[in-house]
């Protein structure tokens, strides 16, 4: 080690220059060497350098023993650095942790209060359960009768102990009772915190402290009326942190107890009305007050006050306050909708805020505030929003609007209008079932067909170009050829054309030409359809009429089933040479395509074609049984999956997972968790139990429901947690990629 050791500033300067990695490695090596030789003066410098290196993200665990050595040194400066290093580098998982206990114990009994303070702070960060139990007596003593600053630290340390080992609360309850009578604000702050923590963890302690509500109320009251205090006031609000802490405690104490809530009503009202909100500080206190009012059993007048405060927040110019208000209102609206209707206009105004995160919350809130009475105006506003919002927000907005329209539509015409508008504006970001629902609605609203047809035609025409032609086939041809059409759109247009061929005999040649063009298209789906339709023209022309005739009306319950055949439809052109009957319905948005996949099967006998089509569909949907899968085996335990595809729903796969043992003994605490890729969804039902018995007992079974609308390949990641009879709990993570193909196709 030739050159003298660097000081911390030199190291920092070096690091800020280039070549950080080398320098840091060299320095680490030097520090390690210095630690081994035990050079006393350089100890602190080395440790501070090590802490800086640790801050940068390099491993620094070799400094732990050095920390412990410095801790034990009699010099305050070294002790300080030692404790700092311990707080940053050590934690419960390290072995060196246990060696701390003795040092801390000695320091707690040290005559100098600063040292005691250091030890308390360290215990508060790092104390393990065992250490807490050992040292609780010392801490209690310090909390009871030491000097004021140390009492605060002792109380803070007690908070940590109570978190780690809730049983220790019993020891601190009498201490807290005494401390509540103190006047020093800093001490009160710590005490209130300790009481809050204890009450959250132990219901019996909670009951005990309900008696203290008057005292807490008194503290809050004193803060309100005391006016300006040089030390603690911030921007004219006296000790806001203590106020917030007291309000939080009142919240915990008041929940579930009528009389406690009653005792605090007056003070809450006073705080709510007197705190000024020109700065963030006052708003913070008010926010906490509102949270408390809504959580306890407060008087109705008080609740209205809370909602009004939130409404006032919404008008504030500070965006933080607006977003916080929106979040709380969202929580409130689930409980009490009517009170919030007054603020509807403000919420809608928030939709136009420059901040996108506020948009999202305002949208959720607006959707929650919709009722039958205000649905028309709200929908107008939300449609306006949908038009201008960024693409990321379109799906939730669209699905929310559609859902609301479903629930509150005053009449069918309005409903269909709204759905059309949403579809036009949101485009491809609507949920899948929106389209089929629209079709259902259209078919059901027979008397509105002419109106609907005109709207749909208009929508389609505007969408692709400014074409003014009156010919529907030409329009569809443009759709097919347009670069903007997506493949599904093309497929639908192709099918619509086919259906038109029966209704418009004059244009058959044109339609045939268009369809045959797609016989050599790159897209497989389109090619297949085009070839089949061509065949329909050529060989089975006589069948074409019956194949493409109008399908029966779909009822709402049947939508779940696989046999949904979208109603066949036809577009009425705005010119008057309509040969078709006026009762047939337009179907641009033919979801599942018209004829089934195999029109080449001849109808054969005298049974009408339509019936055999439905038979065909039923055949297709019953699947052969899928073989079960042995997922995992090990540790005397075995996990199998059995599959089932219910014919009613083609996208659903039911997996029955069964866990059994191959060797005698019982595995306990068995827990299965599953995750699937984003395109799929999985839902786990409750298992039959949590322990797997020996080979002669009934295996543990659990149902998983996997929903796979896009028929994506099924992969799953499983996590198993169990405790074998030997004793040590085990966790296994598995990835399963080899599901049988029939499970997801």
């Amino acid at each position: 080690m030739g050159d003298p050791l660097m000081t911390l500033p030199e190291l920092i300067r070096g690091v800020r220059g280039a070549r950080t990695q080398e320098l840091v490695q060299r320095e680490c090596a030097r520090i390690r060497g210095a630690i081994r030789t035990g050079d006393p003066q350089a100890g602190t410098t080395n440790l501070t350098k090590l802490l800086y290196i640790h801050l940068l993200g390099y491993p620094a665990h070799f400094g732990q023993m050095e920390c412990l050595k410095l801790l034990a040194s009699p010099q305050f400066h070294q002790k300080r650095i030692g404790y700092l290093g311990a707080a940053l580098l050590l934690d419960e998982r390290q072995d060196a942790h246990l060696l701390l206990t003795n040092s801390i114990k000695n320091d707690l009994a040290h005559p100098s209060p600063c040292v005691q303070g250091l030890a308390l702070a360290c215990l508060g960060c790092l104390g393990s359960a065992g250490m807490c139990r050992d040292l609780v007596g010392e801490v209690q003593r310090l909390a009871g009768d030491a000097l004021a600053p140390m009492r605060r630290k002792a109380v803070a340390c007690a908070v940590h102990m109570v978190r780690k080992v809730p049983e220790l609360s019993d020891i601190f309850v009498p201490v807290c009772d005494r401390l509540l009578k103190e006047h020093s604000q800093g001490l009160l702050h710590g005490t209130l915190l300790l009481i809050t923590e204890m009450c959250e963890r132990r219901p019996d302690v909670l009951n005990h402290f309900r008696k203290a509500v008057p005292r807490v109320v008194e503290i809050l009251h004193n803060l309100e009326v005391s006016g300006y205090s040089l030390e603690h006031s911030i921007m004219g609000v006296s000790n806001p942190f203590l106020q917030v802490r007291a309000l939080r405690l009142l919240r915990v104490l008041g929940q579930g107890s009528e009389e406690a809530s009653e005792a605090m009503n007056d003070t809450l009202a006073q705080v709510a009305m007197n705190t000024e909100t020109s700065h963030n500080v006052g708003s913070a206190v008010l926010y906490e007050t509102v949270l408390t009012i809504t959580a306890v059993h407060s008087a109705p007048g008080l609740r209205v006050l809370a909602v009004n405060i939130l409404g006032r927040f919404l008008l504030s110019r500070d965006r933080n306050i607006r977003s916080v208000a929106l979040m709380s209102l969202l929580r409130l609206v689930r409980v009490d909708q009517s009170a919030l209707q007054r603020h509807r206009a403000t919420v809608l105004a928030c939709l136009r805020d420059p901040d996108p995160s506020i948009h999202r919350r305002a949208l959720d809130l607006s959707l929650a505030l919709m009722t039958g009475a205000n649905v028309r105006t709200m929908t107008q506003e939300l449609l306006g929003f949908l038009e201008t919002c960024p693409p990321a927000m379109k799906p939730p907005c669209a699905s929310g609007l559609l859902f609301a329209a479903e629930r509150f539509a005053p009449n069918k015409r309005w409903h269909i209008d709204t759905m059309l508008q949403v579809l036009t504006m949101a485009g491809s970001s609507v949920p899948d079932n929106a389209v089929s629902r629209l079709i259902q609605l259209i078919v059901g609203a027979g008397e509105l067909h002419p109106y609907i047809v005109r709207r749909l035609y208009g929508a389609l025409a505007c969408d692709i170009s400014q074409v003014e032609e009156g010919q529907v086939p030409a329009l569809l041809e443009r759709v097919l050829q347009s670069h903007l059409s997506l493949p599904p759109t093309r497929a639908l247009a192709l099918t619509a054309l086919m259906k038109l061929s029966t209704r418009l005999p004059g244009d058959i040649d044109r339609i045939r030409r268009i369809v045959s063009v797609f016989g050599s298209c790159h897209d497989i789906e389109l090619q297949q359809r085009a070839v089949e339709y061509n065949a329909l023209f050529r060989k089975y022309d006589h069948l074409r009429a019956s194949v493409l005739e109008k399908m029966p009306l779909v009822r709402a319950e049947e939508e779940e089933g696989a046999e949904v055949v979208a109603p066949g439809g036809q577009k009425r052109a705005p010119f008057s040479t309509a040969q078709e009957e006026p009762s047939q319905v337009a179907d641009l948005l033919d979801l599942l395509g018209g004829p089934p996949a195999d029109p080449l099967v001849p109808a054969g006998s005298d049974t009408p074609v339509a019936e055999s089509l439905l038979d065909l569909l039923e055949d297709v949907t019953t699947a052969p049984p899928i073989p079960p899968l042995r997922v995992w085996e090990g540790d005397g335990l075995r996990l199998d999956f059995a599959f089932q595809r219910p014919p009613a729903d083609p996208h659903l796969l039911l997996i029955t997972a069964s866990a059994s043992r191959t060797q005698p003994g019982t595995t306990s605490g068995f827990l299965l968790q599953a995750a699937v890729p984003k395109a799929l969804q999985v839902q786990l039902e409750a298992p039959s139990g949590t322990s797997v018995p020996g080979p002669d007992g009934a295996p543990l079974s659990q149902q998983l429901r996997v929903r796979n609308p896009g028929q994506a390949p099924l992969r799953m990641r499983l996590r198993l947690a169990y405790t074998p009879p030997a004793g040590v709990p085990v966790q296994e993570t598995l990835e399963i990629n080899d599901f049988p193909a029939a499970a997801w196709q």
């Binding site: 993200g57 400066h77 700092l84 940053l88 603690h232 911030i234 913070a284």
Partner: protein
């Protein structure tokens, strides 16, 4: 409760980090990088509270330095926002017009100040004089 307290500059270099819940070393760097990316991508009109994974972030920008505090769901965000400002004011008083370099070269002192203000994940002392008192004592001892 407060989960962590970070001071990161615009280039993504961490100037101060304090975790009140155990987080592995390599996860810390990832967390810090992601957090700073989130904060840098916010514009001026957006609010200072971000929802990130299962907790909330409260951030405040002071010149080129971001102070980011991660808090649990139940904590009052606006109080923590005030706490950040209080912390910066204390630093300002101690270092007389604090700058990033001051923080870098006096990291242990900044840690002492932070330890007085945030005890174990909860807000502790908030009075500036009382926070700085032990530090002045330490300075006097170190000089002599």
């Amino acid at each position: 409760m407060i989960k962590f307290f970070l001071m990161v500059n615009k280039q993504g270099q961490t100037r101060l980090s304090r975790y009140y819940e155990h987080v592995e070393i390599h996860k810390r760097t990832m967390l810090e990088a992601e957090v700073i990316k989130n904060c840098l991508s916010r514009s001026k009109e957006q609010c200072s509270f971000i929802e990130y994974k299962d907790f909330k972030l409260v951030y405040r920008q002071y010149a080129a330095l971001f102070i980011v505090v991660g808090i649990s769901e139940t904590e009052n965000e606006m109080a923590v926002y005030e706490l950040i400002h209080n912390f910066v004011e204390v630093l300002d008083r101690y270092f007389s017009r604090v700058s990033e370099l001051d923080i870098m070269f006096n990291l242990d002192r900044v840690h002492i100040i932070l330890d007085e203000m945030v005890l174990n994940g909860c807000i502790g002392e908030t009075n500036k004089n009382r926070i700085l008192a032990p530090l002045f004592v330490l300075d006097k001892v170190a000089e002599s």
